[in-house]
């Protein structure tokens, strides 16, 4: 097993040299048929950071995160979580991670409470510990009233929340959340942000993918902009956005705006 890389400094210099990043990607690439989804990504996510991953639809965010979390085997490249190679020592690496994938099913014939309990027991935690954490999580995510309802009957936002609870139950050191705020109501979203902020300030690392720039600018301290399977910019949010807003900077990097090409016929008056 080759030694885990030192931080490359690419994600901003807030870290003391020599500290291993929470997540390190080197030369990550994946191809589906003749479409290259991820085209050589290098990225360091410093420990304790709140890291935003932004990019247009189809940029390769979900593919990258799937490979980083051990769900999708990369064609090339390596991934370390706190210095543990995800694809050489998967069991060890997976213990460190809690993940919320996007666009997958849950075991939705379980009740919400059962699902989170299941996630805890699958990780080999003992029953009492799981029970305490499950009730704390349900409380924190405002799901107590629906804890006994089958997940299949949950709304989209509630489903996101119960999946988040399942990702948190084993107190991971790194949280990887793919589109965690999609269809979550504003109050729940604020609660989730608080939980995540507390978690990050306590030494945990959070990676969220999103395409809501405002949210990332407000919530994250680091950000990486991904398009067409490559990293266009990465670093602290302030470094990446400079004087502009993150949204403007994002559009500038990614391109694709067509100013002035209005739909003239859409005027109703």
């Amino acid at each position: 097993m080759p030694p885990a890389p030192e931080p490359s400094g690419r994600s901003g210099g807030s870290q003391a040299p020599g500290v291993r990043p929470a997540l390190a990607l080197r030369g990550l690439a994946k191809r589906f048929g003749d479409r290259i989804a991820v085209n050589g990504i290098d990225l360091d996510v410093p420990t304790g950071s709140f890291y935003g991953l932004v990019g247009p639809n189809g940029a390769g965010k979900t593919t990258t995160l799937s490979m980083a979390t051990g769900l999708l085997r990369p064609d090339y490249g390596q991934i370390w979580v706190h210095g543990v190679d995800v694809w050489r020592a998967p069991l060890e690496a997976k213990k460190l991670m809690g993940i919320l994938p996007d666009g997958v099913r849950l075991f939705d014939r379980l009740t919400g409470e059962q699902l989170v309990t299941y996630a805890g027991l699958l990780r080999g935690m003992d029953r009492e510990e799981v029970a305490v954490r499950v009730s704390d999580l349900l409380e924190a995510l405002d799901l107590v009233e629906d804890a006994g309802t089958l997940v299949v009957d949950y709304s989209a936002g509630m489903t996101k929340k119960i999946a988040l609870a399942s990702a948190l139950v084993h107190a991971p050191r790194l949280l990887v959340l793919d589109e965690p705020f999609e269809s979550v109501d504003p109050v729940s979203a604020a609660n989730i942000r608080d939980i995540l902020a507390t978690y990050a300030s306590g030494g945990g690392t959070v990676i969220v993918s999103s395409h809501v720039m405002d949210l990332v600018q407000r919530m994250c301290d680091h950000v990486a902009v991904i398009a067409a399977g490559t990293v266009l910019a990465a670093g602290t949010v302030d470094d990446v956005r400079g004087d502009a807003t993150l949204e403007d900077r994002f559009v500038e990097l990614v391109g694709g705006r067509n100013p002035g090409a209005g739909l003239a016929w859409l005027r109703t008056s």
Binding site: G70, R105, L138
Partner: protein, 523 residues
């Protein structure tokens, strides 16, 4: 607009074939099967034309009625057979109702079942070729009958949509629907026996059906062939009235459905009860077992299999009743053991992408395999024991018990062990979570048949010791062989069970991400 709907249906059909080569292979095989069936029906119908008028009429009316009935009943049984053009999806478009209905009707004829029905009905023209007027009428009646079929099935689907939006209704109806399907053999046999015992019965039944919407359109050419124009006219009135009535009802329910969005009323339930998760050992394997057992009860795709178990004695009793001596019923235990063991051979395919949770939690392959197998054995062992002992006891052949027990236990353990390997290695398209247990995604047939067929052969080889000793026992009648079968069943069964968990677990550990990728294709 009508053309748009037809184009949409064809496009959906074509795109569904593009997703994988194996699906295409499956569809082609399905089409060949359909063509073969159709060829036989057409040949039969032509041959029928040589028979005497009364017999022709009886056969045609019974067959035609069955076809119409099938169109109306099958959507009820297999909810969501063809929801590709679900009316609920057109709610937001302002399509004039009349055009929507025309489009939906015509699109119902596109697709294998519609085409087969239309051609089979048109083939009636050839049946009546000796009577030119009847043949001409048969062609027109064929179109009318197909219209009635499609409109009737659309009416049933539309009316069912409102109910089907309640998950609980969907779950229960899709489970209960399996009962008549399993008992199809006995039901058919009962009807056949009725015909055999009284030859007039078929004629009388046809006479009645010929006056109902089910049979009118096929009966009209028969009337004309017999020169009874007045009766034909009366039947035509009934038939056209039925089409008008069904269309009116469909119109009404469709216009209601279009303004009533489906709404699933769910009562909120607080937690406090994690069910089986509180009772299993607090280990990953225990958790997997609790989850699997919960699914055996709550997921219709699994629960349907459980529902079949109590029907198995009836089925075997019926099959062996034909050959006399209820010989097969004695083998209820081994047969049940085989079916139950094999039912977990597609477990990961059934999980679909929810499988990511096992993968991300780093569940070891052995824990996953053992948990699923344990969940099955918890209820399969008592069921198989009862099903092995009870028939022998009832038929007074308890002397065979050691042999039969060896066969049953061996099949259950060996089958479960082997299925644990198969499901860790092979996936195929199965009904998705939440779908009806009967829904077969297009193109399932081939890869499933290949895996299952080869799987069964391998399983038979693995079972060779038990089967060989059982045959020796039956041939010689020596009790030694009976007890040897029991020993073989327990020893070989346990060995294969453990081996299966280990080999399946090793495969699972090695190919976890590939398994997830494979099941994600079917979504």
């Amino acid at each position: 607009m009508v053309a748009h709907l037809l184009k949409l249906k064809l496009l959906l059909l074509r795109n569904s074939l593009r997703r994988s080569t194996w699906q295409l292979v499956g569809v082609i095989l399905g089409a060949l099967y359909g063509l073969g069936l159709l060829g036989m029906i057409v040949a039969g119908l032509i041959a029928l034309g040589a028979l005497d008028l009364e017999l022709m009429r009886t056969v045609v009316v019974l067959g035609g009625s069955a076809a119409v009935l099938g169109w109306v009943v099958i959507p009820l049984v297999a909810s969501g057979v063809d929801m590709t053009l679900d009316p609920a999806r057109f709610v937001t478009f302002t399509i004039p109702l009349r055009q929507l209905m025309t489009g939906l009707t015509l699109s119902g004829v596109i697709g294998i079942p519609g085409a087969v029905t239309l051609i089979a009905f048109l083939a009636l023209t050839l049946t009546w070729i000796r009577y030119p007027i009847a043949a001409l009428a048969a062609a027109i009646c064929a179109v009318c009958a197909v219209l009635l079929c499609v409109a009737g099935s659309r009416l049933v689907t539309t009316a069912g949509t409102a109910l089907a939006s309640f998950r609980r209704f969907r779950d229960v109806s899709s489970m209960v629907a399996i009962i008549p399907l399993v008992l199809l053999g006995p039901i058919f046999a009962g009807v056949t026996a009725g015909f055999r015992n009284s030859p007039e019965f078929a004629g009388e039944l046809a006479n009645i059906l010929a006056w109902t919407p089910l049979g009118v359109f096929v009966a009209i050419p028969a009337d004309l062939a017999a020169g009874d124009g007045l009766t034909a006219l009366a039947r035509l009135g009934i038939g056209l009235g039925a089409i008008a009535g069904v269309t009116y009802l469909w119109h009404a329910s469709l216009s209601h459905a279009l303004v009533t969005p489906p709404y699933n009323a769910v009562s909120r339930k607080p937690g406090g009860n994690v069910g089986l998760f509180a009772r299993v050992p607090a280990t990953p394997a225990g958790a997997v077992a609790a989850r699997a057992l919960t699914y055996w009860v709550r997921d219709p795709r699994y629960a349907a299999s459980i529902l079949v178990v109590p029907l198995l004695p009836i089925l075997l009793w019926f099959i062996s009743g034909d050959s006399g001596g209820f010989f097969l019923l004695n083998y209820l235990g081994p047969v049940t053991a085989f079916l139950l063991a094999w039912s977990i051979s597609a477990d990961i395919s059934y999980d679909n992408t929810a499988f990511w949770m096992h993968l991300s939690a780093g569940v070891s392959g052995r824990a996953d395999r053992a948990g699923r197998a344990a969940a099955l054995l918890v209820f399969a062992v008592p069921v198989v024991l009862v099903f092995t002992i009870a028939p022998l006891w009832l038929s007074g052949s308890l002397a065979d018990l050691p042999m039969m027990l060896g066969l049953a236990v061996g099949t259950l353990l060996t089958g479960t062990g082997f299925a644990s390997v198969v499901s860790a290695r092979y996936t195929y398209n199965v009904p998705l979570p939440g779908e009806s247990p009967f829904k077969t995604p297009p193109g399932t047939g081939f890869s499933m048949l290949a895996i299952q067929g080869i799987g069964w052969v391998v399983l038979m080889v693995l079972l060779a010791p038990e089967v060989g000793l059982a045959i020796a026992y039956l041939a010689t009648g020596s009790t030694v062989f009976g007890w040897l079968t029991l020993c073989a069943g327990v020893v070989v069964g346990t060995a294969v069970f453990y081996g299966g968990i280990r080999i399946g677990g090793a495969w699972y550990d090695k190919r976890g991400p590939e398994l997830l990728e494979a099941v994600a294709v079917n979504k």
